[in-house]
């Protein structure tokens, strides 16, 4: 374990120093990578650790972002409150949607969530007067210290690191272990006294909360929000990040998100056929690396650990 701590510390140090020698654009990209990694990891709480078919996670990302954006643009409330309210709203939405959907299991859960999520998207898309409709909201005012690219980056880094730490604790807690037990064997879990649905609901709310945090970070980094943030195809993209990196490892989604965001940015310079490349990569990963990049690495280089999460 000590080696991992050192590695993480070095990584954190490296990330802190990035803005010192990277041009503005790349600092922006780095911030996007961080918050997307947070988003993917939050999804993985539900799907990798909980075994819940969370097919429309982007809704919580979008609502977190819109919540923050609306608070910042339409109310005189201080920014700190706005940044807090966004994630709280998405956690609340996660609770409501969770209560509705949790009666069903597996694929049906996913389908119902897609339906509810689409309803939310359609409403946001059309409510021009309130949410800006398909234009979204732009030019969101932020406090000076985090309005600059460097400021936004450091803020994102701090919040992301904090959230990762929190999520890691959660995964390694009794709740986390119980959740994994439910994932592997809900019947068995129930037979040892675990209220399966209650635990799954808590997992969903936590996933929604951190997804909402990622959304609020997007507001800080990008100064705008738009309905596509909660469109179904983006939910699938986030799922791909988890799959690509490895759904049963903690840092898998981080790896997947980093690869995907960076690839998209750099590939788009050379070609407009990014979707083709993504599709091809995904196909290869599904066929040859179903455990994801990190999952494969763990199995190859640390066979003793097996598939333990």
């Amino acid at each position: 374990m000590k080696k991992t701590h050192v590695a993480l510390f070095l990584l954190l140090a490296a990330l802190c120093s990035l803005p010192l020698f990277l041009p503005r654009f790349y600092t922006y990209i780095a911030a996007i990578v961080l918050l997307t990694a947070l988003l993917a990891t939050s999804l993985n709480l539900a799907i990798g650790y909980g075994g819940i078919y969370q097919f429309h996670h982007a809704v919580f990302y979008g609502i977190g972002a819109y919540g923050t954006a609306l608070m910042l643009t339409r109310t005189p409330m201080p920014a700190a409150l706005g940044l807090l309210v966004g994630p709280l709203v998405s956690a609340l939405l996660s609770l409501v949607m969770g209560v509705i959907c949790i009666r069903l299991s597996k694929l049906y859960f996913g389908m119902l969530q897609i339906s509810l999520g689409s309803l939310v998207w359609a409403t946001v898309y059309r409510w021009y007067s309130f949410t800006g409709g398909d234009d979204g909201i732009h030019g969101i005012p932020l406090p000076d210290r985090i309005a600059t690219p460097d400021g936004a980056y450091y803020y994102t880094l701090a919040v992301t690191a904090l959230c990762f730490f929190a999520m890691h604790r959660i995964v390694g807690s009794p709740f986390g272990k119980t959740l994994q037990g439910i994932r592997d064997n809900p019947v068995r879990s129930s037979a040892i006294g675990v209220h399966v649905k209650a635990h799954q609901l808590v997992a969903l709310v936590i996933a929604g909360l951190f997804g909402g945090v990622a959304g609020s970070l997007f507001v800080v980094v990008n100064n705008s929000v738009f309905p596509d943030m909660m469109f179904w195809t983006f939910s699938l993209e986030v799922l791909i990040m988890c799959l690509l990196g490895g759904m049963y490892t903690f840092f898998g989604p981080l790896a997947g998100a980093s690869i995907l965001v960076l690839l998209r940015v750099f590939v788009s310079v050379y070609t407009q056929y990014w979707s083709l490349l993504l599709g091809a990569i995904l196909t290869l990963v599904i066929i040859f690396l179903p455990d994801g990049v990190l999952g494969y690495a763990v199995r190859r280089f640390r066979p003793g650990e097996g598939r333990r999460a």
Binding site: S173, P174, F175, K177, R188, S189, G193, H195, V196, H199
Partner: protein, 247 residues
């Protein structure tokens, strides 16, 4: 301790359990036997809350429990093992039992403590009792079939049950493993005072350790009584023992 009265359960038109009766006294070892398809596993599912009976009563310590979900029954003191191995495949032996213990201690919602090593003492004690202590860090997927079945029992023990229900505990086991299992069941009853209800196809095992035996045929109870009573019962001989040639 446990009383099942005239319980009926149908699936579609098919009556899987048709008027079954069962009595288990505190501290006893009771076996349910019957030909394949007699409804033994269904009866167990009804007792442990995985299914709800259409009619009839199930009483645990004089409380009506029919239809209560499994996690509630576990808290009341009834745990079980399953016929087909039903463990947490991705977790280690230690972690499998640990969750059961943590669940009993109502610690499963704790988000901020580290689970590593929690309840180690109790888990180790259970593992030593069942003989799996050496393999506590092995991923349960990788155990032999016999060891997995023993792990099933260990997980059920994590809930500190009063009534332990075992569904074909030695199915698929080699002879030495079966011997080991028999000794374990005896130990659980003698040393720990557990009440044990199990069903089996291995007649030798049944007649060796069960104090009382209930015979099920076609979903109904034919007889429940001591070993001698069951052996002498004409109906049982016709329907069941006669076929296998065991007596």
């Amino acid at each position: 301790m446990l009383r099942v009265e005239s319980v009926v359960k149908s699936f579609g038109g098919f009556k899987a359990v048709n008027g079954a009766n069962l009595e288990v006294g505190a501290g006893e070892i009771v076996a349910v036997i019957g030909p394949n398809g007699a409804g033994k596993t269904t009866l167990f599912h009804l007792i442990t809350g995985h299914l709800s009976p259409d009619s009839g009563r199930i009483l645990f310590k004089d409380r009506e429990i029919a239809g209560l979900p499994p996690h509630v029954l576990c808290r009341m003191g009834i745990t079980r093992s399953f016929q087909v191995v039903n463990i947490f495949q991705r977790l280690t032996v230690f972690e499998n039992v640990q969750i059961a213990v943590l669940s009993r201690e109502r610690k499963t919602f704790r988000i901020f403590s580290a689970v590593q090593g929690m309840a180690a003492e109790e888990v180790h004690s259970i593992l030593r009792n069942v003989g799996l202590y050496e393999q506590r860090d092995v991923e349960s997927d990788l155990l032999s079939h016999g060891d997995q079945k023993v792990l099933e029992i260990a997980v059920a023990l994590g809930g500190k049950p009063e009534l332990l229900i075992l569904d074909e505990p030695t199915a698929g086991m080699a002879p030495e493993e079966t011997e080991r299992c028999i000794r374990l069941i005896r130990k659980l009853s003698d040393e720990f005072g557990l009440t044990i209800l199990f069903c089996e196809h291995d007649m030798g095992l049944v007649f060796e350790i069960a104090k009382r035996i209930m015979v099920m045929v076609r979903g109904g109870t034919v007889v429940q009584g001591s070993r001698e009573e069951v052996r002498r019962n004409r109906e049982v001989q016709d329907a069941y023992l006669g076929e296998t040639g065991e007596c």
